[in-house]
Amino acid sequence: MSDAPSDALAAIQRQIQWNRLIAVVEEQAQIMIRTAFSTTVREAGDLSAGIFDLRGRMLAQAVTGTPGHVNSMMESVGHFLAKFPAEGMKAGDHYITNDPWLGTGHLHDLTVVTPAFRHGRIVGLFANTAHVIDVGGLGMGPEGRSVFEEGLYIPIVKCFDQGRANETFFDILRAGTRTPAELEGDVYSLCACNDAGARRLVEMMDEFAMDSLDELAESIFEASARATLAEIAKLPRGEFAAQISSDGYEAPVTLKARMTVAEDHIAVDYAGTSGLSGRGINVPAAYTRAYACFGIKCVVAPEVPNNWASLLPFRMEIPEGCILNAPRPFPVAVRHVVGQLLPDLMMGCLHQAVPDRVTAEGSSCLWNPPLRGGAQVSGGEAELPDFEVITFNSGGTGARPGQDGLDGTAFPSGVRTMPVEATENVAPVVFWKKELRPGSGGPGRTRGGLGQVMEIGAKGDAEFAVNAIFDRVANAPRGRDGGGDGAPGWVGLTDGTVLRTKGYQVIPRGKRLRLLLPGGGGMGDPAGRDPALVRRDIADGLV
């Protein structure tokens, strides 16, 4: 028992301060959602927010946000500090980049870093990342042959200098996008939410009379590392291998992992994984680490908050030249279609260690059809005004050991969908169908979540285009432990015409796009399924 109440009080206060930091970054994320312009941020929640110490180590991240951003944004702050050392930063400065290799993996993600000052001294850094709607170039899609075709490339620069907007930067930004007002507004929003975080941090430091975050950081890191290591220690030691296939662009892609569970860390080696693609499905290493760590963490230590130390025990060996470690300037715009398979791959390994803690494979990759129309598709014949719109949609998740998979729900991504009524209000499109896809869940003791059926036309059935980014059409989500596979996806027209799963394609006048989203894999022997659940699914027309 502690005999020094002051030590005990200090320990309790550090916990309070930790909770406060998490509340501060949550406030930061909420302000971003309220003020952002891009539907991807404000409706879908494709963002992250966090606080860092002066060495670029993440202390806390907002609960709101999506995994692909969070863990990669964590690496990003170090790159900002390498170019702009903390000693030279001034109050009111904001730094920005969308460099896929210094940020979160594609040009559509903006990362903003802002120093926090107290009594004229820099005490910490706030960072956030948001997926914006447009950065020029070919637009969101896999067609680029290098990153230079994929859009405006922003190196790490100052967008605000001591509170003054860098007008040269904003001029270039506005000129390089199809949606200048929205993109500029989004940058303002990212800066405003970091400012709010900084204000709250300083209030907290005043309240607790803290001169620096150092002691608090050490205690957060110590507790997080200890808790993560304790969870790792509970796993059986050993080497576990798995692989998973993606439809790819030119050719199928195979991802391979060999996972070593040691006493104090988990190492993953990706040797044997397919090489680079000529199109934008390549994955920068930071994004690979982000989704792989997320997949491991969901199984091994879901309760431990995300920070620098809690992710440290997960080590990644990603061979150069494989699709999971794309070098600049390979195209990377839709790195998510491959990257979002990584949690399934990690669970494939962990299934051998802790079979009752993982799920079957799911639809995993979001089915987000970027739709475009007007003169940019139909030239002088266009019947519609120019539009560019994307909606986020999800197939089924993999069956869980004790419960069915979730129907039409995003995993591993943390995003939300947009209402059809809202989408139809911003673009001249009509969704004729968007509902569950009966029979698509893999059978099992617990079944996979169901995919969806979607049918989309333009208003007046005019010509429009889709920049397809779909996967799991040739490679269905697999079941585990005797459970069946989920139904594979399908991309085509309502008249039965089959379309390619990736790339820009025009839907002719009078035709409609039809998407069948994959179902999740099942788990366990279907004969062991609770008969009451079978009856329910039949009564509801789900199987």
Binding site: A8, A23, E43, V420, K433, K459
Partner: protein, 692 residues
Amino acid sequence: MSGLRLAADIGGTFTDLALERADAHGGFERWTAKVLTTPAAPEKGVLEGIRVVLSKAGVGPSDVALFIHGTTLATNAVIERKGARTALLTTEGFRDVLALGNESRYDQYDLNITLPQPLVPRRWRLPVPERLDNEGRVLLPLDEGAVRQAVSFMKAEGIESLAIGFLHAFVNPAHERRAAEIVREEWPEISVSLSSEVSPEMREWERFSTTAANAYVQPLMMGYLHRLKAGLAEAGFSCPLYLMLSGGGLTTLETAARFPIRLVESGPAGGAIFSAFVARQKGWDRVLSFDMGGTTAKVCLIDDFAPQTARSFEVARIGRFKKGSGLPLRIPVIEMVEIGAGGGSIASVDALGRIQVGPESAGADPGPACYGRGGSKPAVTDANLLLGRYDPASFAGGAMPLHPGAAASAMNAALGTLGLEPPMAALGVVEVVDENMANAARVHAIESGKGYDGRAVIAFGGGGPVHGYRVAEKIGVNRLLVPSGAGVGSAIGFLRAPVGYEVVRSLYQRFRSFDVAAVNALLAEMSAEARRVVAEGAFGAALVERRIAYMRYVGQGHEIAVELPVKAMEAADVAAVRAAYDREYAGFYDRPVPGSDVEILSFAVTVATEVETPPPVAEVDAAPGPSPIRHQAVRDTARGEVSDWPVYDRAGFAPGATVPGPCIVAEAETSTLVGPGWSCRMDGLGYLELTR
């Protein structure tokens, strides 16, 4: 007429009654009662409570001029899934809108979450061919034969209530109305709820969910309300009956029976109105209402004497109060955040050696360990006891002696691994729960687009006065008020509520192409609708109308409410509204966005009877402070030090008397803690005002 007004609030455990009339000095004479809620037939509890409170006051039914009622019955029906067998007629191709929701998980890292099941199972979600576009034009006519077929199917399935929700029906309700007409031809007795009437706003999931919930509770609520009406008549009451709405206004029984979903949060709404009234008495224009009970704490922002309102709400959260784990309702509500932090919330240690408090609660039975009724897990009340904040012998006015030994053992058993003595562990528990509440208040203020800096806190409920000063410190607030009568605050709040009604409609507008005529026509129509509803119960009282536009920069996702003039607008008014938006926006987020147009998504019109202005509070002269009734050794949670805190009896306080902190002001239902650095004065209303 004697001017007696009666209010009843049915809660989960107790039904609270308040009866009052204005006294000669500008205050109120009041009687209250608490009886057990009778879930099987709630009107019985209400009638029994009424009997008790009338006999306390020595009056009869004919002396009561007005009866106001609020209830959690609709909420409970949704939470416990005890509503009607409900079907949904919907646009073909969109059968699963209720099941898909927003396709997200409310917890990113938990692989085993359960999502809330829709109130209408898939077998009763019945698609019919029809389709409107976003401007309300018909893309596909309504298939009337399919509607008739659906009716036969529903009859065969024993459906008891029907919701109709078609895409874009909020723009053009023609298909929904025609479908309802056909249903009523075939089946006159079925109750029908239309999405274009229940919640005429964009976003199909929220609108259908609200409509389905309305249909789900309608048969139950209609039955209850009519039984209550009959019971009251039988008991000899002839006064008008009003129902409390979630949005803070009162309405007639007929409107309540039509839109019962609008009654969902009426109890908590009463608490917020109580706070708003107290704020008005004090003349405080920026207040944070803090109501901490046994299992949850509720925080509500009150600006200019009106509780913050919102247009959406989540009911029946299944994931430990987590946002996104409930069913969305899009109705006018008093906006508050509710978290699992109350006197019964249980403390534990997580895998990281961090103290966690709640949301699990010891409830009333067995209750916290110190009640000595078999509870073995440490609750917040145990922690308060171990800090010396309660006197074991005089808790609850001496009615329930507390057991510090049991509290210490429970604390040791649950938190012993931290290596802290029970009093320090207790300090940790209280600091964590106070921090949780402060953080919830902060994030709530941000999500509502409001600040919390510089507010005053009004604390009530059993725990509010105990934890209020420390929560205030944590959010940087220097003023705290503990009013009297807080035990039945919601019922008293009902008596302060205006008769009112809010109509919300979507009509898309941009300022660069503002259609003044269309907006004026819509607002006039909404105003007439709201006035019609209110007129039934206003009895000629003066009406106040407010018009609001929900606005944002073109392309943004979240709107800010901007007040519109109550008249037919002209060009100059439109420009003024546009300017007001920029001011409001910059006020919240520092930076206006240059060059962006502004759009309006929807409009709201509220018509209500004028809120009575409380009589001016007489200034009171300084009075001598009371003498302590005892001293308690209390550990201060900010510094960890123990010192002797004097304890005063609230009843022994004279208006104008001031005592310095640290000290405790005790009363039967709760204790007000006055922390170090604070002082406590009783004002002319008998309220305790803490400042630092």
